[in-house]
């Protein structure tokens, strides 16, 4: 006899009904189906307006904001740009990016380590203007978490600074595999580091054969021309 409820059964659960049938419900659905549905809505909305959305993902301190500062200034007046900047706290990035000819909206994610499609969808109508062709989405600085969340972007670009060493693409393959291009930043610092360019390129190609790789310094301008040409190509110019 069951010693908890006094019934004749031996094998039923307690605190939740009594000797009911056990069933298995087959679901086979993406865990992030809700996020993915919003991402699909964002993607459709952006595509209908001819906007190419670039999800920029890297560790904190890789130089995403600095690269965007230079990029917005360089493209001002030629290609309509807009920026969504994600950070856990503060609107410092948005402040740095304003005044360069592009609307900027900051999303403070609070405790969340990544942007999601719902938060991005909430600000799209605010940040995208009729002349916007390139929307930069500066994700929260983190090599792991943002890679899992589709925002509805056209492509993901992974950034990697030379101060982070050569092997990040092997340690965080999910991001580099899902990225359409990788940008190696802060190349002006190479003379001060024991950074092996060939090893870094090999790591990127191992993680993602055929990956488009750009190398630049937003500080000196080295490599910026190729980056801007790449962006113009995306924008169809």
């Amino acid at each position: 006899m069951c010693d908890r409820c006094g019934c004749g059964a031996h094998d039923h659960g307690h605190g939740h009904g009594h000797a009911g049938e056990h069933r298995t419900l087959q679901v086979e659905r993406a865990i992030l189906a809700h996020n993915n549905a919003h991402a699909a809505e964002n993607r459709l909305w952006l595509t209908q307006r001819g906007v190419v959305a670039i999800n920029l993902i890297s560790s904190p301190g890789t130089g995403k904001t600095r690269l965007l500062e230079q990029t917005l200034t360089a493209l001002s007046g030629t290609i309509g740009c807009a920026v969504i900047a994600g950070d856990q706290e503060t609107d410092r990035d948005a402040q740095r990016l304003r005044g360069r000819g592009a609307p900027v909206v900051q999303i403070e994610t609070g405790s969340a380590c990544h942007l999601d499609a719902v938060r991005v969808g909430d600000v799209l109508r605010e940040v995208v203007r009729p002349d916007t062709r390139l929307l930069f989405i500066e994700n929260v600085g983190n090599l792991v978490c943002p890679a899992a969340f589709d925002l509805g972007e056209t492509l993901k670009i992974a950034l990697l600074s030379v101060t982070e060493g050569e092997d990040k693409p092997l340690k965080y393959p999910a991001l580099f595999l899902n990225a359409s291009a990788a940008v190696i930043t802060k190349t002006d610092l190479i003379p001060h580091l024991e950074w092996d360019r060939e090893a870094c390129l090999a790591a990127l190609r191992t993680a993602h054969p055929g990956l488009r790789i750009l190398q630049l310094s937003a500080r000196t301008g080295e490599g910026m021309e190729a980056w801007l040409e790449f962006l113009k190509g995306l924008a169809g110019r």
């Binding site: 009594h18 056990h22 978490c145």
Partner: protein
């Protein structure tokens, strides 16, 4: 630690899937997690009870089926498990491959117990 977001999404998915069903208790939730999904299974196991607390799936066991990467080779046509890290075909060494498996992040099934039927009263006519 985006696994807490993933765990919360999982709890939401499970609740949606169970909506309209008579559920006394959820015993087990099975998920499939690819090695390249960006989700750490240990962190997800840690986050799941936190996300489930106070919901109808509280107390359920989380079972994680891990999926290793598999690539389909455009050169030789075979599907192999690549030598990690990398997506090079294990059969012919070509890097012209596409990832066939490894990105999974899905809710597979939910095992639950229905409430017991109310005891029938003697003489009750249905």
């Amino acid at each position: 630690m985006h696994e807490l977001s993933i765990a919360m999404a999982l709890v939401g998915q499970a609740q949606e899937a169970l909506a309209g069903r008579a559920v006394a208790h959820v015993d087990r939730i099975t998920v499939r997690i690819g090695a390249l999904s960006g989700v750490d299974p240990e962190a997800l196991s840690f986050a799941f009870p936190v996300a489930a607390a106070g919901t109808p799936v509280a107390g359920a066991e989380l079972r994680i089926e891990r999926v290793d990467p598999e690539v389909r080779c455009q050169a030789c046509g075979r599907t192999t498990q690549p030598k990690w890290p990398g997506t090079v075909c294990a059969a012919c060494g070509s890097s012209e491959t596409t990832l066939a498996e490894g990105r999974e992040m899905s809710l597979v099934n939910i095992e639950y117990e229905e409430p017991a039927a109310a005891p029938e009263e003697p003489g009750h006519v249905r």
